[in-house]
């Protein structure tokens, strides 16, 4: 069975510091990985998907199949990055259903 692990429930950094939110997965097939973000009082929204290989709001994430990881990184955190971040895995052969990690709350202090 597939599983997504986000080892940190809370990550607190100062503005301008680098950020790395960790995500590890276990899945026997070929997964698609996503990062979703939920800002305060807003709906859950897609931040990144690994196949897009793009940078959104300065965030990047690289799929490392050897380490089964999909860590989210940003070189310089901003206060507006404070939010809840969820890593999720999709199985193409199961109708794109998502398995979510436990989430990491990022707090960026001024």
């Amino acid at each position: 069975a597939q599983r997504v692990t986000q080892p940190e429930k809370l990550l607190s950094v100062f503005k301008g510091a680098p950020v790395e939110l960790k995500c590890n997965y276990s899945y026997s097939g070929s997964p698609e990985l996503f990062w979703y973000v939920q800002y305060s009082r807003q709906r859950l929204q897609l931040l990144l998907r690994h196949i897009s290989r793009e940078s959104i709001k300065g965030f990047t994430a690289d799929l490392n199949k050897g380490e089964t990881s999909f860590h989210l990184k940003k070189p310089f955190a901003q206060e507006e990055d404070s939010a809840m971040y969820y890593c999720a895995l999709s199985q193409h052969n199961a109708g794109n259903m998502l398995t979510f990690g436990g989430g990491t709350r990022l707090m960026v202090k001024p």
Binding site: F34, L46, Y86, G95, N96, M97, T99, F100
Partner: protein, 113 residues
């Protein structure tokens, strides 16, 4: 991306009653899903709502407790039946398609007294 409207946004219900949550999309979508987010927890998939056929439920969720309808490609409902305090959660609708990432509604915050 599709605009997803979920109603009600929140409700407070008495135990033993049932509540139906609606999810309306502004365009036809292939896949619709229902998730639950219990307090302080992550999202857990309840079921995939299949148009014109019975929903596909995940382990731990049953049709008698969470009946789902999907009469067409733009609308689905989730009913939480015979509610107990343990059903207090946020219930979210999402839509997607093959090779399309899922997008979520605002959710329904449900409290059971």
């Amino acid at each position: 991306s599709a605009v997803i409207s979920q109603k009600p946004s929140r409700d407070i219900c008495q135990r033993g009653t049932s509540l139906t949550i609606q999810c309306q999309v502004d365009s036809q979508v292939t896949m619709m899903f229902w998730y639950r987010q219990q307090p302080g927890q992550s999202l857990t998939l309840i079921a995939t709502a299949n148009q014109g056929s019975e929903a596909t439920y995940e382990s731990g969720f049953v049709i008698d407790k969470f009946p789902i309808s999907r009469p067409n490609l733009t609308f689905s409902t989730l009913t939480v039946s015979n509610m107990s305090p343990e059903d207090s959660s946020i219930y979210l609708c999402s839509v997607g398609g093959q090779d399309q990432p899922q997008h979520f509604g605002d959710g329904t915050r449900l409290s059971i007294l």
